[in-house]
């Protein structure tokens, strides 16, 4: 029975993705990165079941505030009487939400724009890339902070979604350039010529024939982007422009920063959580880049 199974597999062979997955699995560091990402996603999804306490519950009445880690409060209690461990777990939700949504928004703008610019070329390409050039040297961080203050804080009364949209919007030029470059490289391939001869429409060629070839690059870049956006989000909330009612690592680091010498648990664990998450995404991205691009042998 097993004989037949292996026989069958051998005949079927492995798809491109299967081959990439095999190369990825061989890369120990990359697998560790993926496990790190997986564990954070797990924590975020099952936060209500994993978190020992309600993250908003204050323990002042029980006489607990700024108390060091103990068996009841694994990461201690912060200066406003909240359980740090529960807040870290719920904080993963906020970080992942903004990281994923903002990257999705970047892709939504950049992929169609980059693909069209790369394929059509000419005036449209010129204009789109000029715009990207202009955007890339924007003082984006300052404009992001300003937009967050105006939209997320003043207009919408602290909106995490608005933060995600703003961060995502300012990230489009780099991604659009990458997609454009890749599409330009592929558009003179024989398979595109073939599709043209069969009468495929321009849109069909771009989105059905060309984009799949760009997906590996998009995936790798998106992973790095998620790490970068999470870092950016936490730096923004650290500066105090986040939603104060949402559990957030940046707010925790900020809250505990004066007490770092004495009550180090208040901000140390939040920093470790952030580092763990960004490192996980970056290691995975590195492994993916190697696995999906066999020409770039390491």
């Amino acid at each position: 029975m097993t004989e037949v199974n292996t026989q069958e597999q051998r005949q079927k062979g492995l798809s491109q993705w299967g081959l990439a997955w095999r190369r990825f699995k061989r890369n120990k560091v990359a697998v560790i990165g993926m496990v790190m990402v997986g564990s954070i996603v797990f924590l975020a999804i099952f936060a209500p079941f994993i978190s020992p306490y309600d993250p908003d519950r204050r323990w002042f009445v029980e006489g607990l505030a700024r108390t060091p880690p103990s068996s009841e409060h694994l990461f201690g209690v912060d200066k406003i009487g909240r359980d740090v461990f529960s807040n870290i777990i719920y904080g993963a939700r906020n970080a992942l939400f903004v990281g994923l949504v903002s990257t999705a928004i970047t892709l939504l703008i950049a992929v169609p724009l980059g693909a069209l610019a790369g394929y059509i070329g000419g005036r449209f390409d010129e204009l789109a890339m000029r715009l990207a050039d202009a955007f890339i040297i924007f003082p984006s961080y300052l404009l992001i902070l300003l937009s967050i203050k105006v939209f997320s804080v003043l207009v919408m009364g602290f909106s995490v979604s608005a933060i995600a949209v703003i961060i995502g919007f300012f990230g489009w030029p780099g991604m659009a350039r990458l997609v454009r470059g890749q599409v330009r490289m592929l558009k003179n391939s024989d398979f595109v010529e073939g599709a043209k001869c069969l009468g495929a429409s321009r849109m069909r060629i771009i989105f059905i024939h060309l984009l799949p070839g760009v997906i590996p690059l998009i995936m790798t870049t998106a992973m790095t982007a998620i790490a970068g956006r999470i870092m950016m989000l936490v730096s923004i909330t650290f500066l105090g422009f986040g939603d104060p009612t949402v559990q957030d690592w940046g707010a925790m680091i900020n809250l505990g920063r004066e007490g770092l010498l004495t009550s180090w648990w208040e901000s140390l664990f939040a920093g470790i959580a952030l580092f763990y998450t960004t490192l996980g995404f970056n290691l995975t991205a590195d492994g993916m880049a190697d696995a999906l691009n066999p020409r770039l042998v390491r």
């Binding site: 890339i136 040297i137 924007f138 300003l146 939209f151 730096s235 650290f238 105090g240 920093g271």
Partner: protein
């Protein structure tokens, strides 16, 4: 002829970028509705007089020029910028340009120092890593850059303060200069002493990225035909790398300079706030928190000008390194 023409063209290209920055800022500021409500809210916080009547609000709008059609307001603000007039602070009423000019030197000193330090580590280390690809040394450097990119620099800053200022007491935690007598009897030494921690953090945050770019550039260049040709001529490895390869490997760093500069300026807002460094970044965060919008928009505009200027300089440098560019 080629070079002057090229520089002129780069300057012309910088103008649309600048207009785009100011336009986006203008749109953001007006998305809230008429900014007069922000100004009045600000003032209402201080005065206990009778509520504003409609006639007073209209008069206030006219006073601040906010009654004109929106495109005209933008045009006026743009011409004001070109005339060097950025308005006045909501709070102190001081000229925005004066406020910013007070803070600019501290930012520029820190930025320049960290840029120079970061490049002078990243370039040799990148070359070294590329030359020893697949070896343990390269692996160590690559691992370092991966950690460096993933490590939250603002958290790193806090740890540095705790360790070097708190536990060891070697450096001051915040500020740019000692209160009272300068340490070591010299103002410059005192400033350097205060600068070491923020400088370390800023260098660390840009080093990893620059190093990666440099290593990648070198790896691509050493496969090129002219490097192989240089080697086959029997030149020493040193000459091949430093004379033939480096010149071309360094171009990605120069071309990404504008983008790098923009991202570092952003990071300075956080670093300066943590270290109480009296620069433009900290001013931005504090004025944004207190909604002193004329100062905020002034800082973004001046930062955009600085980045464009830095980028222009990089472009010119690039065309000196690689004369083909100017001829294109």
């Amino acid at each position: 002829m080629g070079l002057r023409h090229y520089v002129l063209r780069r300057i012309l290209f910088a103008i649309p970028t600048f207009i785009a920055v100011t336009l986006i800022m203008f749109i953001v500021m007006h998305a809230v509705g008429n900014p007069i409500s922000m100004i009045l809210n600000r003032e209402l916080g201080f005065s206990t007089g009778p509520a504003w009547t409609q006639a007073e609000i209209e008069a206030a709008k006219a006073f601040y020029g906010l009654d004109k059609p929106i495109w005209e307001q933008y045009f006026i603000s743009l011409t004001n910028i070109f005339r060097g007039d950025f308005g006045r602070s909501f709070y102190s009423g001081r000229n925005v340009v004066d406020i910013i000019m007070d803070k600019l030197p501290a930012t520029i000193v820190l930025q320049l120092a960290s840029q120079i330090l970061s490049l002078s580590i990243a370039i040799p280390a990148g070359i070294y890593a590329a030359m020893h690809q697949y070896k343990k040394r390269d692996f160590a450097i690559v691992t370092f850059t991966l950690f460096g990119i993933s490590f939250p620099y603002f958290w790193f800053a806090l740890l540095m303060i705790v360790f070097f200022a708190g536990i060891l007491g070697w450096f001051p935690a915040v500020g740019i200069i000692s209160i009272g007598e300068p340490i070591f009897g010299s103002t410059i030494l005192d400033i350097i002493w205060h600068m070491i921690l923020p400088l370390g953090v800023m260098t660390f945050s840009s080093l990893a990225l620059t190093l990666r770019v440099m290593r990648q550039g070198m790896l691509e260049v050493i496969k090129e035909d002219y490097v192989i040709a240089a080697r086959s001529l029997g030149l020493t490895e040193r000459t091949v790398i430093l004379k033939h390869a480096l010149r071309n490997a360094i171009t990605p760093i120069i071309t990404s300079f504008g983008w790098l500069l923009a991202s570092i300026v952003g990071g300075s807002a956080v670093t300066e706030t943590i270290f109480g460094w009296p620069g433009m970044g900290r001013l931005f965060v504090s004025t944004l928190s207190s909604m002193d919008f004329p100062v905020v928009t002034g800082i973004v505009t001046i930062t955009a000008i600085l980045i464009l200027g830095g980028n222009l300089l990089a472009d010119i440098l690039y065309s000196v390194f690689d004369p083909r560019i100017a001829l294109e």
